[in-house]
Structure formats: C-alpha cells, structure tokens
C-alpha cells in the first residue's frame, strides 16, 4: 500500500468537558473517496473542521504528505492543499460568483497571469454548472447552487484533499443525482475526497470506503457496502436496545451517572401542568393542515397534517434533513409557514410571532438546548416564568426541582457549566416553567450517553402520566416509540408513515427511511 496522502492519528477535540472527537485515526490514500456517516452530534463536522484547520485539535497529529500540519492555521492548510466546504454555505455574498473563485486563486497565487486564471475559473464554473450565473452576486443563488459554489471555490485551490461537509443536505433527489455526478468529476488519481453526509445515497454511490462516527469515536470502518449491511450501524441510526450497550461510551456514562438522578416516581407536577381547556374536549389541541415551511430557498415541509389531542404523546421520527426540527420551529412560531392552516386550542394562530405563540401555552425545548450561558441555572428557569406571581413561580420552581433535583443543587452555577445531560434537564425544566399546554421536545437525547437518555425519558414518562401533552422529536426510534401514543414518520417534508407505535416499529419502511436501501 502506498504512503497515505493524509494521515490522522489519535485526534482528540474537547470542548470543556465534552469530547467531540475521541482518538480518531484516519488514513486517506490518493485517488479515493471516503464517506463519513453517523448520527447528529457524532463529531463529523468537527472532524472536517479539525482537518481543514478551522478547529484546533486538543491532541493528535495530522500529517499531509508526511508533513505535520496539526498546528497550522486554516489559511496555511488551504495553501498546503486542503480544500473544504461548509455545511451551511458561506459564499462571499456581495461578490460575484466568479469573484468568489478569484479569492482562492489569487490568495495562493497573487501574481498568476490573468488569462489562464480566467480560463481556469471558466472551466471550474462549467464543471459546477454555474457558467450562466458567473457574473451574478452569490447572494442571488439558491441553496443548491450555493453548495455548488462552495465546491467550486474549494476546487479553485487545486487541493489534494477535498472535504465535503453535507453538500447533499436539504437537496431533493434530482439535485442529489446532479451532485453525485459533480463529485465523481472531482475524483482523480492525485486527490483524496472525504464526504460527510446524512444523505446516504451520496455515500453509497460515491464512496468505496466509509467510516461511522458515533459519540466522537470511530465505530467501524470498511467497504461502504459492508458498512451499510452492518447491524451495528443500523443500530446507531435506529438506536435499538442492543445498540445502547454496544455504542455507549462507558467513561462518559459513569461520569454522568453520578450527577444524573431523577427523583422517584410520584412527584407533585401539578403546578407545571396547565388545566385542560373546558371548551369542547373532543377538539384537537393542535391542528396543522397542509403546512408548508422552510428557510428562504430551501422548502423543507411540503404539506404536513397533524392533529394532537389534549394529553397525547406524539413521536415525530425521520432521517436527518427530513424536516423534524423545521416542524418543531414552525409549531413554536420561530418560522412562519408559507402555506397551510395552523390552529391551537381552536384558534387560528398562523403567522403569529413566537412570543405570542409561547403565551398561548406552547413550549419548545429546542434542539441543542439553548441554555443562556450568562445566566445561572436558577435564572434560566425563572426567565420562562416571567409574569407569573412570586408564589406561583416558587411552586413551579419546586416542582421542577422535584423532577430534577440536580437543578436545585446547582442553582447558582452558570447554566452552561453543567454536563450535557444536566443542561438538557435544565432545558426541559425551563420549558415546563411556563406551565405550557403543549411541550415540543426536539432531540433531547442528542449527544448524551445512553444512561442519561434513559433518565430523561423516565422524566418524560412522568410528565406524560401527569397529563402533559407532548410532541417528541427523536432520532432514537425505540425510546420515542416506547413513550408515544401515536407516531409519525417524516420523509422529504411530508408524513410518509403514521400509526400506533407498535405498527410503526414493525414496519419495514421505517428501516428503509432511515438507512435507505438500493431499490
């Protein structure tokens, strides 16, 4: 075997107590395309950042062509031949598309002759299918073309290593076909390509070898076909019971276990639960009809219907990029739907701003926790109960403390100084402090050790028993289905599947949606 073009050994990245990348080794041979897959928060983008130089490693060595580049800044690594794209495209918006490429060309070769440089740009733009927009400002491009510009811009560096970070996310099938064709034109005998991707079709069709990251560790590496057939990999995505034991990080689990304990059953949650509305109990609490929603050019939800009754627990499942978080953000008012009707407690609330919707009694426990770092644990909780009287606030606070005693112990600490699991408890507690009628939990298990997930789900079960209406958005299918009364599976922005949890769990289409099968 020839010498690797890029060799990564013992790479570690820590953010405070969180280990984002944990002793990852990687060897890239010239002329290969390697896929990197894994659940959200597994550390895939961090790995790209570490190789590209945007993120400084805590430990480990990165060698490019035998030369140690681990301590070089991003600009020097780009000059050494590492080109990357950003998951969310970051073109220079006020420059023309062509000027975006000039940045890369002229930064590495300031005195390059103008005519050959222009010819090179023209060729690159043609390859990326951007010839017709060369003179338009990058701002005018829709998402797909911005992603292509990201790729073209990285290629203008004439890199030996190309790192593509989720270039397929948010694209529809036909766009993915075009993208795959583009990636295949990049591959040449002197270049190594790394593709980080949730759109598994891209990985399946482009990459001979793949590796799976989970909790920052390399779970498995090998030929892509074998990886996709591997049960353990399916478990990482689907989160089956067996996978809990197999993939859990024992150190982290032990570390969190001491700090995480949920109070015994039967705590007094009543101060946190809004009384059921007296007006016609049969009507749904939340009713969405034909909701379309998205971000600018990217249309994510394409006609979603959802009815949630008082006291129900609903699970929303689906692959990455299916639109789960967009749905949550639409319900909580962070995004205004472009079409469809949105009713809550019998009222039409479509188009209302997020704070008005929160006042109606919808609480959103957001993906990524969103703890206010400058506020203490206690202040993070109190901010959600603004406007309630002092007595009421004290009652709610003590109920939250009953549910998560750790929040009482740590009440004066800064909110983000706690461990991931504790922060998630704080986020849940904060959502409850508003005494909501409906709570949306978005990916509360993300990036947490299995044992911590268990205790969070125990708490959710208590809330359900106490009568809180829940919408649980989750990658971890088993946990979500165990809790829910009814489940929906989002696929490409619509509900592809819905039913009782037992039916859904048994449905072969679920596995198909998550992993995708060659059909």
């Amino acid at each position: 075997m020839s010498a690797p073009l890029l060799e990564v050994t013992g790479l570690v990245k820590r953010y405070g107590g969180l280990v984002a990348i944990d002793h990852v080794d990687l060897r890239l041979q010239p002329g290969t395309i390697t896929g990197v897959i894994g659940p959200n928060g597994a550390g895939k983008s961090t790995l790209i950042g570490l190789i590209g130089g945007a993120v400084a490693p805590s430990e480990g060595v990165i060698r490019l062509d035998g030369r140690d580049v681990s301590r070089l800044p991003a600009s020097e690594r780009a000059r050494a031949g590492i080109g990357r794209t950003y998951q969310i495209p970051r073109p220079f918006l006020d420059m023309t598309v062509e000027e975006n490429l000039e940045v890369a060309q002229y930064s590495i070769q300031p005195f390059a002759r103008a005519a050959p440089a222009r010819a090179e740009r023209t060729a690159l733009l043609a390859r990326a299918g951007l010839s017709d927009v060369a003179r338009l400002p990058a701002r005018a491009l829709p998402l797909l073309r911005r992603k292509r510009l990201e790729v073209a811009r990285a290629l203008a560096l004439k890199p030996h290593i190309v790192l593509l970070d989720e270039v397929g996310a948010g694209l529809v099938d036909s766009e993915i076909t075009e993208l795959i064709a583009l990636i295949q034109t990049i591959a040449d005998p002197g270049t190594a390509i790394v593709i980080v991707e949730h759109v598994l079709r891209v990985v399946r069709e482009c990459c001979a070898r793949s590796l799976v990251l989970n909790f920052g560790k390399k779970l498995i590496e090998g030929p892509t076909a074998e990886i996709f057939a591997n049960d353990e990999v399916a478990a990482v995505y689907l989160g089956t019971g067996g996978a809990r034991a197999a993939t859990g990080n024992p150190n982290l689990a032990a570390f969190e276990e001491a700090a995480v304990s949920v109070s015994p059953r039967g705590v007094a949650l009543s101060p946190l639960i809004a009384p059921p509305s007296t007006a016609d109990a049969g009507a749904p609490l939340l009713e969405l009809r034909g909701i379309c929603s998205g971000y600018g050019q990217a249309r994510v939800l394409k006609g979603v219907d959802l009815r949630v009754r008082q006291g129900q627990a609903i699970a929303i499942l689906g692959a990455n990029g299916a639109g789960k978080t967009t749905l949550a953000r639409t319900i909580s008012g962070a995004i205004v739907p472009t079409a469809g009707s949105f009713r809550f407690a019998g009222e039409n609330v479509s188009g209302r701003p997020a704070h008005r919707i929160a006042q109606l009694g919808i609480a959103h426990c957001m993906e990524g926790r969103r703890i206010f770092p400058t506020l203490s644990v206690q202040e993070n909780l109190l901010i959600a109960a603004r406007g309630a009287g002092a007595d009421v606030t004290r009652e709610r606070l003590s109920a939250v403390h009953d549910l998560f005693p750790i929040l009482a112990e740590r009440k004066n600490q800064p909110g983000t100084s706690m461990s991931g699991g504790q922060q998630q408890m704080l986020a849940i507690g904060r959502a409850l402090m508003a005494r909501p009628r409906l709570v949306i939990f978005d990916e509360i298990s993300l990036g947490l050790a299995p044992v911590v997930m268990d205790s969070l789900y125990d708490a959710l079960a208590e809330l359900k028993t106490a009568g809180v209406t829940l919408i649980v958005i989750e990658q971890d299918v088993d946990r979500a289905l165990a809790l829910a009364d009814y489940a929906f599976v989002l696929e490409h922005g619509v509900f592809g599947l819905s039913g009782e949890p037992t039916e859904i769990a048994a449905d072969p289409r679920l596995r198909h949606i998550y992993i995708g099968t060659a059909d």
Binding site: G52, G53, A54, P73, A74, S75, E76, A78, R79, G83, R84, Y86, R90, P91, F92, L93, D94, M95, E99, E102, V103, A104, Y106, S107, I108, P110, A114, R153, A156, L157
Partner: protein, 312 residues
C-alpha cells in the same frame, strides 16, 4: 473588465491632478485654503474608506496617525534640518511602523472592540505628548523656520491626495480588492480559501496609517505650530468618519463627495459654529436612516428609485 476600469480611473485621476496643479494661477488665498483642506480631508477619508469599506476595520484612530505624522515631521524639520519631502516621507513610514507595531494587539479585537482599541491608542499617544516635556508638553512645538508659501503647500497636499487616490484605486480595482472584501465579509471562510487574514488586514492598516501620518505632516507644516489637543484631537477621527458616511462607505467616490460636502458645509456655516454641529448631526441621522450607502450610494440608486416613483 476590471483592468480597463482601473486604467480609465488612473487616467482620470491624472488629468484632475494635472489640472489642479495650476490652480494657484487662477485662484486667490481663500480658494487655496479651501482646496488645501479638501485635499487633506480627501486623503484621510480615502485611507479610512480603505480600512472600513474594503477591509471592514472601523477605526477611530485617525487622529493618532495625524498627530504622529505631525510630531515626527516637526521633529525632523526642527532638530535634524531635514528637507520637507524627507521629513514627510519619514512621517509616513512612522505611521506605517506604528500601525505594524500595534496590530498584533489590535487585531485580536474584532468589530466594535477594534474600534475602541484604536480610540484608546489615540488617547494614549495624546496623553504621552501632553506629559513628556521633550515633546513640548501641553503647549506643543513651534516650527523653527517659516512654513513654505501657500501655493507650495497646496502642491504638497495635492501630491499626498494623489498618492492616496492611486493607492485606493490599486486596492479597489485589482485582485487585491477581491482579497480585501473576502476578509471583510467572512474572515474564517477567507482563511479556508488560503487567504491569510492577519496579513491582509495588516497591509491595509499600515497603508491607511502611513497615508494618515503623511496628511498629518502636511497639515502640521501649514499650521506652523502644533499642540497635542489639536493634532491628536478626536475631531479628526469624527470628521473623517462623518465624511465617509455622508459620501458612502466602501464606494470609490464616497470619500471625495464626503470631503467636498463637509468642507462646503463648514464654510457655509462658518459664522454659526453651533448650528454647524447640529446640522451635521441632523444630516448624518437622515442619511443613515434613508441613504445608508451615503450620497454616492443614493445617487447610484436614483434611477431605480425614480422608476419606482414613476410607477407609483
């Protein structure tokens, strides 16, 4: 396309320069005084516009380099009998050197913090001059020999403004402009393209500071006497800032239009200093609200606006 526009611009600047060279033959002292002020302001505004408009570095440290240039030029003229062009050249070098010296600290600060850092630097230098008697203390320094006659000073200012305009053209019309704007728009993404943001910002900052010091030197020689409160006064920084905002940040003609506007307004309201400040303030508020890209930006959008109004 860029190269042709750049060539035309250089030709235009050359013609304007040649025409203005003969201005002393046609205008009296008053006209020359005004023209001198416009040229000094133009130089400062061009250099500020280069920093803020192209590189995204908003500085409140103009006075720092104006003052430094003044003191260095006076020191050389009074103590070493240096010829005026040499004294001014060394003043410019000193401005650039100071910028290079402080940039490792200043560039650690991004955005508003950088702005505050430059303000602190100007105050630091002013207080140093006030408190060190070798630099004349609070009373300042008087030029030992008589300053050159006004037409000659005008020619110095004209050359300085020419250098600033050509430097700005070089930065705005060549491939340098692409690199500068990349750093301004997204430093991290630019680094990922191989651009070294620190060096790019340093280059812009050194060039702008050298030009500021050069203008400061010429201004000081014209005054014949300098003192720290005037030469290091915040007024320089504020005037330049308002000129560029009125003219148009990041626009090639913004500095010229702004400098002309501010000097003309100052002359028109010379007898009412209080009204002058109030009116300048009001103009700034109106412009920021309704024409955030300044007079030049507004004029450039005018055809589109007219069409919109015509339709409505």
């Amino acid at each position: 396309m860029n190269a042709r526009a750049g060539g035309a611009e250089v030709a235009l600047i050359g013609v304007a320069f040649a025409a203005l060279w003969f201005a002393p033959l046609f205008t009296g002292d008053y006209g020359l005084q005004i023209a001198f002020r416009v040229l000094i302001y133009l130089t400062l505004a061009e250099s500020w516009n280069l920093l803020a408009g192209s590189a995204g570095l908003v500085s409140l440290g103009t006075s720092c380099f104006v003052g430094l240039g003044a003191y260095v030029a006076f020191g050389l003229l009074n103590n070493l009998d240096a010829p005026l062009p040499v004294a001014l050249a060394v003043a410019a070098l000193a401005g650039g050197a100071l910028a290079a010296l402080v940039s490792p600290a200043l560039f650690r600060l991004r955005g508003l913090y950088f702005t505050v850092g430059t303000l602190a630097l100007a105050e630091l230098l002013r207080l140093t001059m006030v408190n060190v008697s070798a630099f004349g203390g609070a009373t300042g320094i008087i030029l030992r020999d008589d300053p050159p006659p006004l037409p000659e000073l005008f020619h110095y200012a004209l050359v300085v403004a020419l250098i600033a305009s050509l430097a700005m053209t070089a930065c705005a019309r060549t491939r340098v402009s692409v690199i500068l704007r990349a750093v301004r728009d997204d430093e991290d993404a630019a680094a990922q393209m191989g651009v070294r943001p620190f060096r790019v910002k340093l280059g812009a900052f050194v060039l702008a500071s050298a030009l500021g010091a050069l203008a400061g030197g010429v201004q000081a020689v014209k005054l014949g006497a300098i003192e720290p409160y005037g030469m290091f006064g915040l007024q320089w920084s504020i005037d330049v800032l308002s000129m560029v905002i009125i003219g148009g940040v990041g626009l090639r003609l913004g500095s010229l239009v702004g400098a002309l506007f501010v000097v003309a307004l100052g002359e028109a309201l010379a007898d009412y200093p209080e009204a002058h400040i109030a009116i300048t303030g009001a103009i700034l508020i109106v412009l920021i609200r309704f024409a955030p890209r300044g007079v030049v930006g507004f004029a450039a959008n005018l055809p589109g606006l007219m069409r919109k109004w015509a339709v409505a």
